[in-house]
Subunit: 317 residues, 2 copies
Amino acid sequence: MKDFPSFDDIRQAAQRIKPHVHRTPILTCESLDRISGCKLFFKPENLQKVGAFKFRGATNAVFSLSDKEAAQGVATHSSGNHAAALALAASRRGTKAHIIMPQNAPAIKKSAVLGYGAEITFCEPTLKAREDGLNAVVEKTGAVIIHPYNDPLVIAGQGTAALELIEDVPDLDAVIAPVGGGGLMSGTALAISALAPRVRIIGAEPSGADDACRSLQAGRIIPSQNPTTIADGLLTSLGSLTFPILHKHLERIVTVSEQAIISAMRQIWERMKLVIEPSSAVPLAAIQEGQWKQQNIRIGVILSGGNVNLDELPWVK
Amino acid sequence: MKDFPSFDDIRQAAQRIKPHVHRTPILTCESLDRISGCKLFFKPENLQKVGAFKFRGATNAVFSLSDKEAAQGVATHSSGNHAAALALAASRRGTKAHIIMPQNAPAIKKSAVLGYGAEITFCEPTLKAREDGLNAVVEKTGAVIIHPYNDPLVIAGQGTAALELIEDVPDLDAVIAPVGGGGLMSGTALAISALAPRVRIIGAEPSGADDACRSLQAGRIIPSQNPTTIADGLLTSLGSLTFPILHKHLERIVTVSEQAIISAMRQIWERMKLVIEPSSAVPLAAIQEGQWKQQNIRIGVILSGGNVNLDELPWVK
């Protein structure tokens, strides 16, 4: 049974990963402030290594291993940013990453993972095949499984983004981040509640993948069933570690339409000159769409990542 | 007759514009270092207000005016980033900007300028019509003309980007910037040669608009004739102030192909997650294409801007 991460784990993670990650800047944009009616402070984790906050958590987990554990390698099943993050973190530690990936994963994801020196095992595109593939690799190699979000070290690593945000902008009224499996949101909640307890902590989720919103309302984990959203990083459901943290610390989760996500995404490309993936646009969509109406407050907005296929943009037909 | 700007003018410009501009961060990217064979330190002026370095020079010029001058308004002819920059700078000063713009300018440029509260006078798309239009507006209003690059205050303002770059990364071997009319390159050369005289100063220019390269070789200004390049910010020719500064300080100007520009542009979008316009990609293209071959040196790279039509990307057919 895994322990819940604490704020102290986030502090330690920040020290541990410091030599390996970018300290991303804080960016502001007057025209988006005007459109949104609030003062926004963006933490652009699309500028993080591998193009996503995921590198923070993966690096913290991989560099927390003993030398003996590390020698066995690490493993995960993922077709997304966690796979690339774990691959690069393992390469930095000088160990092997084994990634179980569905055959139909986009070529761009495969080549990113291979580019970081990981070994891919392909499987059928079902959760069962992925889990079976992962177990087989672990049995064969003894590799340590690093879960994409339901892992205290991963959560602590993700929390370092909010730690930096609040160090750089201490006088926020609220912080908002996207919710998928809840790793980023949990780390954010732990960091903010410890460092700035009067700051409101808000989650943002696509209406088409609103398991976290429904779970918080029900008081228990309600997994996603056939979620559909352009925000492909937010399809996963909360885990046994992330649900209780969110339940304890979040003021609420705001759900948003697909149209609001695409509109917010384009605004950030056009006005902030940042390439972000749809998942990253969900918090701005939540600020703008009107279900959570705020005026003139100071909001920290975590932009989760920027890995998107430049040949297929949602506004180009 | 206008005076040449000095390094002291850049220092003063930095103080003057500080309350109004973003101090853009320094970004690095290991995969671009690997591809390029050098260690690159990017100064992303696409993240500057109005999405381009031009806001530095326009702000310096507008805030250098006496109250009496400022009350008359400012004017320029431009369909590009200088127009938007001057419009916003004038609005900040609480004065009027008059922009003479060809009727066929892209709608996105018109709306940017109007959004900043400037007044547009449309004219035929010829240089003569633009100059006539500008003179007519100045005669009527008494507005002060702010030239996009051949103005010592504009050049001094543009030099503040390199000033910040060398403050943040003092131990560079070279600095490279794109050359259009030469305002950014002149300011960069003045800042770098004063602050870090052993740093090599390199210009980058599209082969299809290589007037600066030919001018430096000939030792006199050779204006562009029908330049064609995707780098639409670099079509202009050097001026009477910028040519002598470049002639004195530049080691050389590297020219690059259209293909190298598009490739470098896509790399920066894909790997750095930055929306840049083609002109911004010209320095990276110069580092990569091979005419100026360097190994393992530390290069400061100024990314000039990010104003591009997201519906028409060069790699999307």
